[in-house]
C-alpha cells in the first residue's frame, strides 16, 4: 500500500521512478551475481590463484635478501666494478653471524649456486669459519675464511640478487643469462636447451594436431552423416579412451610397440621385416600415443559443427554442376572451418602441456617443455625455473591463441556458421 502511494505521489517527478528502476535492477543484478559467484570463486581459487603464483614464482627472488639483509641493502648502491668497501664486508660479517645455522642461509647458498657452481660451499664454509678478531678488519676476516671473496665476480653475483625480484629464471628459460658486467648474454652453448625444447614442443604439437585433424575429419563426417543409431555406438567407441587413465594407455602402447611386442612379432613372423622395427622410445611412439589420446578432442568439435551443416548445401553445389570433390572443397570444407579451428586449438593446447606420454614413450630427444617443469619441481626443487618455463609456455600458448582468434575468431565464426 505504501509503495503504491509513493509511486503515485512521486510519479510526476521522473527522478524517483528512475531510482526505483535502478533499485529493482540492482536486486536482479545481485541475484545474477549470486548465481555465478560459486563459479567465479572456484575459478579464482583453482585457476587465477595458481597462475598468479606461477607468474610470481618466475620472478620471485627472496633468498639472498632474506639471508643477508644488510649486505644486499648496501650492494644495491655499489658500482659493481671494484671490490666493495669495508662497510660492505662488515655488514656481510654481521649478516653471516646472524644467519649462521639458519636454513635461510642454505636457501641463499642454493640460490647463489645457480649463478656459479661452488658458491654454495663458498657461502656455507664462510658462514661456519668466519670469526672477526678484535682489531682485524672485516675484509681480512672474510678473505681469511674463503679467498674467493677477493674476486669481484663473487660480489657481482651477490649484487645481482640484492633485489627481491629477478629476471634470472625467465632469461634462463630462454637460454640467456646476466653476465658479470650486468649485460644480458646468450647462455653457454653446452647449457642451452630451452629455446630448442620450446620449438620442439611447438613443432611436435603441430604435427600431433595435423595428424589428429586428418584422422578425425573423416571420422567426424561419418558420425555426422550415418543414422543416429549407429552413430551413437560409434560415438561411444570414440569416447572410450576417455574412460581409461592416460597412464594405463601409455603402458599398453609400450607393451604393443616394444621390440618383443605383438606388433613387431607379427611383422617379423609374417616376414614383412627381418629385424623388429623401433616403434617406441622414439618420436614415432610418442606421436602414435598422443594422437590416440587426443583424437576425441578433435572429433567432438568437428562432429558438432558437421552435425549442424545441412546436407542441402552440398546437394545444391552438386546440382549447380560442381563435381563432388569440388563441392566438398568449396562448400563443405569452408563450413567446417570453425570445427577444424576449435578442434585443432584444443588438441594443440593440450599437446603443448604433454608430459607423461613423451616421458614414458620417448627418448630424451622427445621431451617437451612440461618434462622440464616436472624435472625442476620434483627433482631439483627449483620452483623458479619451473615457474619460468611454465610462464614462457603460457605466453607462447596465449600468442598462438591470439593468432587463432584473428583467423577463426568470433567475427569470422559467426559469418561462416550455418543458419
Amino acid at each position: 500500500m505504501t509503495a503504491l502511494d509513493d509511486t503515485q505521489a512521486t510519479a510526476p517527478g521522473s527522478v524517483p521512478l528512475r531510482v526505483q528502476l535502478r533499485r529493482a535492477e540492482r536486486i536482479t543484478k545481485l541475484k545474477y551475481l549470486g548465481l555465478i559467484a560459486p563459479l567465479a570463486i572456484f575459478l579464482a581459487v583453482t585457476f587465477l590463484w595458481p597462475i598468479g603464483a606461477l607468474l610470481w614464482h618466475s620472478v620471485d627472488n627472496p633468498e639472498v635478501v632474506e639471508a643477508l639483509p644488510e649486505t644486499t641493502k648496501l650492494l644495491r648502491s655499489w658500482d659493481r666494478k671494484a671490490l666493495p668497501d669495508e662497510a660492505v664486508f662488515a655488514a656481510f660479517a654481521r649478516d653471516l653471524a646472524a644467519a649462521h645455522g639458519n636454513p635461510a642461509l642454505a636457501g641463499a647458498a642454493k640460490r647463489l649456486n645457480m649463478e656459479r657452481s661452488g658458491f654454495r660451499s663458498q657461502l656455507m664454509n664462510t658462514g661456519r669459519k668466519l670469526r672477526v678478531e678484535a682489531g682485524q678488519s672485516a675484509k681480512a676476516a672474510v678473505l681469511a675464511a674463503d679467498a674467493r671473496w677477493g674476486e669481484v665476480s663473487s660480489w657481482q653475483a651477490l649484487a645481482r640478487n640484492s633485489t627481491p625480484f629477478t629476471a634470472f629464471y625467465l632469461l634462463a628459460a630462454l637460454d640467456h643469462k646476466i653476465a658479470d658486467d650486468g649485460s644480458i648474454v646468450h647462455a653457454d652453448p653446452d647449457q642451452t636447451i630451452y629455446v630448442e625444447i620450446l620449438l620442439r614442443t611447438l613443432w611436435m604439437s603441430v604435427i600431433v594436431t595435423l595428424i589428429s585433424l586428418a584422422l578425425a575429419y573423416p571420422l567426424a563426417y561419418l558420425l555426422a552423416t550415418i543414422p543416429s543409431k549407429s552413430s551413437n555406438l560409434l560415438m561411444i567407441m570414440v569416447l572410450l579412451p576417455f574412460w581409461t587413465s592416460v597412464l594405463v594407455r601409455v603402458a599398453a602402447w609400450i607393451v604393443l610397440l616394444q621390440n618383443e611386442g605383438p606388433i613387431n612379432r607379427a611383422l617379423v613372423g609374417l616376414g614383412i621385416v627381418d629385424e623388429p622395427l623401433q616403434l617406441v622410445f622414439n618420436r614415432l611412439g610418442v606421436y602414435i600415443a598422443m594422437v590416440h589420446i587426443l583424437l576425441p578432442f578433435a572429433v567432438l568439435p568437428l562432429y558438432s559443427v558437421m552435425k549442424g551443416i545441412s546436407p542441402s548445401y552440398v546437394r545444391a553445389a552438386v546440382s549447380l554442376g560442381s563435381p563432388p570433390f569440388r563441392s566438398f572443397w568449396k562448400i563443405y570444407f569452408p563450413l567446417t572451418l570453425p570445427g577444424i579451428g576449435a578442434g585443432g586449438l584444443l588438441v594443440f593446447i593440450l599437446s603443448m602441456g604433454y608430459y607423461i606420454t613423451p616421458a614414458l614413450l620417448g627418448s630424451p630427444r622427445e621431451q617437451m617443455a612440461s618434462y622440464f617443469v616436472a624435472f625442476y619441481v620434483n627433482e631439483t626443487t627449483n620452483w623458479g625455473m619451473a615457474a619460468a618455463l611454465s610462464t614462457i609456455l603460457l605466453a607462447a600458448t596465449l600468442v598462438l591463441y591470439i593468432i587463432y582468434s584473428r583467423y577463426f575468431g568470433p567475427a569470422r565464426v559467426n559469418q561462416v556458421a550455418p543458419r
Binding site: 542441402s312 545444391a316 546440382s319 549447380l320 560442381s322 563432388p324 568449396k330 563450413l335 561462416v416 543458419r419
Partner: protein, 365 residues
C-alpha cells in the same frame, strides 16, 4: 517451341523406389513433361512427390524403371552432369559466400571466363531485382530476398530444367503469393521447363501448366488445373483440390456415363459416373459447394434432397451455408450474396438441388 506430345523433355517410365526393400515410396510412376512446361507435383507429405524430384535431380536412384531427359536415359548420370537448376526448401544459399559469389558458383564450376561470369551474375540479379545486394551475405537478407537469390542461382547458368522443392514453404502468406506470381512470370519470360513440388493446392493451381496429384506413391491424376478441379478422376483428387461435399451411398444402376446412387437416407440420385464400380458397389457422390442449388432454382432438377440449415457465415461476396443433407452435417453450399433469401435462417428446412452435370460418383476410398 511446339506444345505437341512429341516434344517430351522429361519422361518417367515405370519408375519405382524403395528405401528398405519392403515399402515402395514410389510405386509406378509414369509421367511426361514437355519442353517449356511448368509441371507441379502435388500431394500430401509422404506421397512420393519429393522422392520423384530427387530421382530427377540425381540424388536418389530409381529401384526400377527409367528416367529420360531429351530421349536419353539418365538413371546413371551423376547429378552434377544433369544440368538442372535446383531451388531447395531452405534455399541452401552458401553462408560463407556473398550473393554474387553464390551466383557465380555454378558458372565457375562450368569454367566460364571471368567477364562472362560477371555479366551473367549481373543479369541474373537484375532479373530478380536484387542488384543492390551483390556483396551481402545470405544471413543479411530477408526470407523473400534469399528466395529470389536461390531462384537466380538456379537460373543463372541457363539450365534446361529447373527443379523446385517446396521453395515457398518458409515464407508468410502474402510474400508467398507474391513470389508465386514472380516465379510464374519468370517461367513465362524464360520459357524454361520447371518441375515444382508442393503440398499447397492453391500454389499449384496458380502457377502450373499441369499438375500431377500424388497419393501413396502413385499419380492419381495429371491434368491442367481447370480439368483437375472440374473433372477430378477420383475421390482423393476431388477432396484434395478445392472444397467438396461428399455423400455416401451404393450404386444401383449404371450406363451411358451416368449412374443411379442410393444414399444412406434412402433417396436416390443421378450422378455422372466417376470411378465408381458397377451396381451394388459402395460409392461417394461429390459436388463442389458453388454448384449446389437452393430452393427456387431446384424446381426442374431430379436430384433434390431435403436439408436443414445449421450455420450461416457471411463472407461479403457470398454466404457459406452449412447444412445437414442425407446424414452429412457438414454439407456446405456457397450462395452468392444476390441469391440469399430472407427464408434462409439457421434451423430452416430447405431443399437442395444437386445438378447431375456437376455431381460425380467415385469409388469409396
Amino acid at each position: 517451341m511446339g506444345q505437341d506430345a512429341g516434344d517430351g523433355l522429361i519422361s518417367f517410365r515405370g519408375v519405382q523406389k524403395t528405401y528398405d526393400g519392403e515399402i515402395l515410396i514410389v510405386r509406378d510412376l509414369n509421367l511426361e513433361v514437355r519442353r517449356g512446361e511448368f509441371v507441379t507435383l502435388l500431394g500430401p507429405s509422404g506421397s512420393g512427390k519429393t522422392t520423384c524430384l530427387m530421382m530427377l535431380a540425381g540424388f536418389e536412384t530409381p529401384t526400377a524403371g527409367e528416367i529420360r531427359l531429351g530421349g536419353r536415359v539418365i538413371n546413371k548420370v551423376p547429378p552434377h552432369q544433369r544440368n538442372m537448376g535446383m531451388v531447395f526448401q531452405n534455399y541452401a544459399l552458401f553462408p560463407h559466400m556473398t550473393v554474387a559469389e553464390n551466383l557465380a558458383f555454378p558458372l565457375a564450376a562450368r569454367k566460364l571466363a571471368k567477364p562472362d561470369i560477371t555479366e551473367k551474375v549481373a543479369r541474373a540479379l537484375a532479373m530478380v531485382r536484387m542488384e543492390a545486394f551483390a556483396t551481402r551475405f545470405p544471413q543479411q537478407l530477408s526470407g523473400g530476398q534469399q528466395q529470389r537469390i536461390a531462384l537466380a542461382r538456379a537460373l543463372v547458368f541457363n539450365p534446361e530444367v529447373v527443379l523446385m522443392d517446396e521453395p515457398l514453404g518458409a515464407l508468410d502468406k502474402q510474400l508467398r503469393e507474391h513470389m508465386q506470381l514472380e516465379i510464374k512470370h519468370i517461367h513465362e519470360s524464360l520459357g524454361v521447363t520447371v518441375v515444382f513440388v508442393t503440398h499447397d493446392q492453391g500454389e499449384a493451381l496458380t502457377m502450373s501448366n499441369r499438375i500431377a496429384v500424388f497419393n501413396h506413391g502413385i499419380i492419381q491424376q495429371c491434368d491442367v488445373p481447370s480439368q483437375l478441379y472440374e473433372e477430378p478422376a477420383n475421390a482423393f483428387v476431388a477432396s484434395f483440390i478445392g472444397e467438396n461435399n461428399a455423400l455416401a451411398g451404393t450404386v444401383e444402376s449404371a450406363g451411358d456415363g451416368l449412374c443411379q446412387v442410393r444414399l444412406a437416407d434412402g433417396s436416390a440420385i443421378l450422378a455422372r459416373q466417376g470411378d465408381a464400380g458397377g451396381p451394388g458397389s459402395a460409392a461417394t457422390v461429390s459436388i463442389r459447394p458453388e454448384r449446389v442449388e437452393l430452393d427456387d432454382a431446384v424446381a426442374g432438377d431430379p436430384n433434390r434432397l431435403p436439408a436443414a440449415v445449421r450455420e450461416m457465415i457471411y463472407l461479403g461476396d457470398h454466404v457459406r451455408v452449412r447444412m445437414e443433407v442425407a446424414g452429412n452435417t457438414n454439407f456446405v453450399a456457397k450462395v452468392p450474396i444476390s441469391h440469399v433469401s430472407p427464408a434462409m435462417t439457421v434451423g430452416a428446412a430447405m431443399t437442395v438441388g444437386l445438378p447431375a452435370a456437376h455431381l460425380r460418383a467415385f469409388a469409396s476410398p
